[in-house]
Symmetry: C2
């Protein structure tokens, strides 16, 4: 796949569309943030960085790129972990970060309409100030909502509330040929054709550009409460989760964590966690509209945990205690990163009653390969975050070992009925594992869908559905 390189004439046209202050050309004029995302070790500069200010600009830029066969990579805040927003073929990087307005809150339809550059934390704060609730809660609060849509981001509350896809009602979408489409809307039900909205959610910018979003809201639950529950070991902790699910008192979140990760977070934050004496913990959150409802649920679950050999049940029922626990939980990724020289991650998802077996399997790999493997994650929804840590390994050993360990982990997940990614997406780093999961037949479906939207394949080449294959590691 060859793309046209951007020349003087292209720059002239693109400048006429977005204005001089919104286009930056050439590596020397582009901030190095835009050469990568949170996937470590990869750097590729676009030829031109463009900040779009509105849908019409996106439309004009795409139409021009499509006619001239210039590749386009859309970027929100660049907080992705799998290289989804890296401009592998140069071309245009289209940033939506300046399209960051909350356009409307509609209390009669319980929706909020936003531009894609709004940050998750801004959205959360805004809707909560209206006593409303946007349930998806991915770890990275400074991600843009457009990025969340692109990866179908999940987060901790998926146990009870589902993921980003479940809260997208409508999308204004710009096709690669510049056409502006509306998929869905403020409507609650829809059986009108293939669900184009659901095709675009999780498409990682490979089908076109999300230019506006209508999101579903819920009433904000009035009360919340967390339980921190120490166990003798991780296996005992995780095996408790299916018992909790079976009891039908579904918490908002069920996270698992290892003692060593908590110690790393304490060091990273310079703050103490309420308890760090055990090897393994479950962290549960409950929410509800009455104290009785909440107490009823958490007391039953606490009893189940004690029956499953929990060492204790620590209740965090004030905002302060609650926030201290969850801010430590929020720092895990950064804390693990700070504890090593380099790391790579696996965001596998398995049925929730298989989590324990999967974690035991990673412990066996840790022994076998003599490599630190840290994990934490969403025990309640089967989505694990597993980090291979390079520490003092030399590059050659690391590349070889990490490759083998990843292959083994993903294959184990597929055996268990799992999938490559629970919430981070595929980007380009996980494409080989997606091929392992779906086989040639599935990849052919992806390519066919891609071509239906983007026949000239200008959008985000080298990612999902692309015929353009790239392996930056070779």
């Amino acid at each position: 796949m060859k793309y046209k390189k951007i020349d003087e004439e292209d720059i002239k046209y693109l400048t006429s569309v977005v204005g001089e202050d919104s286009i930056f050309v050439g590596e020397e004029n582009i901030h190095d943030d835009y050469s990568g995302d949170e996937l470590a070790g990869i750097e590729r500069y676009p030829e031109a960085l463009i900040y779009a200010k509105n849908t019409e600009e996106i439309s004009k830029v795409l139409r021009y790129a499509n006619e001239n066969h210039i590749s386009v990579t859309t970027r929100g805040q660049g907080t992705g972990l799998v290289g989804g927003s890296i401009a592998l073929c140069g071309g245009i990087m289209l940033s939506t970060e300046k399209m960051n307005q909350i356009l409307e809150i509609d209390e009669e339809n319980l929706t909020v309409t936003v531009e894609p550059g709004v940050l998750l934390m801004e959205l959360t704060e805004f809707v909560e100030s209206h006593d409303l609730f946007y349930p998806p809660d991915p770890g990275e609060k400074s991600a843009s909502i457009g990025g969340n849509i692109s990866t179908n981001a999940g987060g901790m509350r998926a146990v009870k509330y589902g993921v980003t896809r479940d809260y997208v009602r409508g999308i204004e979408f710009v096709l690669p040929n510049g056409e502006i489409m509306n998929f869905g809307g403020k409507i609650v039900k829809n059986s009108s054709g293939y669900s184009l909205k659901d095709m675009v959610v999780g498409a990682e910018g490979t089908l076109g550009v999300v230019s506006k979003l209508i999101l579903k809201l819920l009433p904000l639950p009035k009360y919340k409460l967390s339980l921190l529950i120490p166990f003798e070991d991780l296996s005992k902790a995780i095996k408790t989760v299916p018992e909790i699910i079976k009891s039908k008192n579904i918490p908002t979140a069920i996270e698992f964590m290892q003692g060593e990760v908590i110690l790393a977070a304490e060091e990273f934050l310079g703050k103490k966690f309420p308890d760090n004496s055990s090897d393994a913990y479950l962290l549960l959150q409950f929410d509800g509209n009455s104290k009785e409802e909440l107490e009823n649920a958490y007391e039953k679950v606490a009893d189940i945990c004690l029956d499953c050999e929990a060492l204790d049940v620590l209740i965090a029922d004030t905002d302060e205690r609650h926030d201290s626990i969850w801010s430590a939980r929020g720092a895990f990724l950064e804390a693990i990163k700070a504890s090593t020289t380099h790391m790579d991650e696996c965001d596998v998802v398995v049925p929730r009653n298989k989590v324990s077996d999967f974690v035991i399997f990673t412990h066996q790999l840790q022994e076998k390969y003599n490599m630190r493997i840290s994990s934490f994650g969403h025990a309640g929804d089967g989505n694990l975050h597993i980090y291979l840590l390079k520490d003092e390994m030399d590059d050659e050993t690391w590349n070889k070992k990490a490759g083998e360990v990843f292959k083994k982990m993903y294959n184990k997940a597929f055996e268990m009925g799992g999938a490559v990614s629970g919430e981070h997406g595929i980007g380009f780093a996980k494409i080989p594992y997606l091929e392992d999961e779906f086989g040639e037949e599935g990849m052919e479906l992806f390519r066919g869908i891609k071509l239906a939207f983007d026949p000239n394949e200008i959008m985000n080449p080298g990612k999902l559905g692309s015929n353009y294959k790239v392996n930056l590691y070779q």
Copy 2:
């Protein structure tokens, strides 16, 4: 688009796959149920009717049809309202009604695995006997679950719980070339490629055949209660709905009904409704896990209704009263049908704060065209069921008037940000209105997606995504 007619040799092969007792050839040997669905006035026989008993048979039949360019129309119970399962081009009708086993209930993952021929009412009864809950609740309880998936059926509980799509975790799917694929699974989160599962839900059998389903369950709410609320007129009733939504006490269901429809249902069922003295009613349902939670919610909502000029609030808090109201509600469609010579329906969906304006608009059309127009529907989710009644009109007048009225209603819905179908799907009867909604650009996307799955276009021709256009009315 020309399809191969089925000949002796085809029959020989197909019989070798499914056995003599599972194939019926020729109009004289096929029961007339299989020449149509619940869309009145259309009759087309398949050339051969095949009952599949398992996935392998589906795979072999499809592979053969694909290689020989024979059209295939999949059929569940044939309860669709828009002609989705009519074999417009003859060919093979593939019935999944004998694949009707509930395969597994998994209480640790809160899923049930079923074959597509299981009936909605069987599924509901089965999971409730395990104290679990499958929330989607389309009106037609004798529909097959495979059919529900194909239309992304909605139902009354969408206000609180969402629609069929929201409860599909995994699909075993047979591609037209016979390949057996698995999309999703028991996993709760998934960001691994375009969501093929969501593409297949609502695809009305145009992409391949659903051969197995993994459905998400919830704990069964312990208590439920209904409120029947009379109003002076329909406008006042429906205008109350956005106030209820704003109050953040979200009922499970919010239905609206007109006095005349209740009278028709009483006559049809030979049973009295608790009240029939008013012109308009809201019917609300609440569910929850404690009586206090329920009382708290319904008392607030009852006050809101009285503030909005409700004439009374009738509480149905016993199973008996509850069932009597909802069985009347369930008979509306049949009751309206019995009250006229012929009818046609519109399943439009609009934002829920536009329902009142839309119903007023249909009343204006009723006057203008001197045609009875009855409606009822899901006020809480904006999905209206509007019936044009032929009564004593001659065919020519009916065809002309109905065509004009439909056109006006759909265009009004699009103006309001609505869509052609909330839950019945497009079939072939609503294809022209889908074109009005999506335009050429959108229809082209549908065709592209169709071709990604079904390059030889054997699946359900004349429906969604098809290049084959048919107008049986001309």
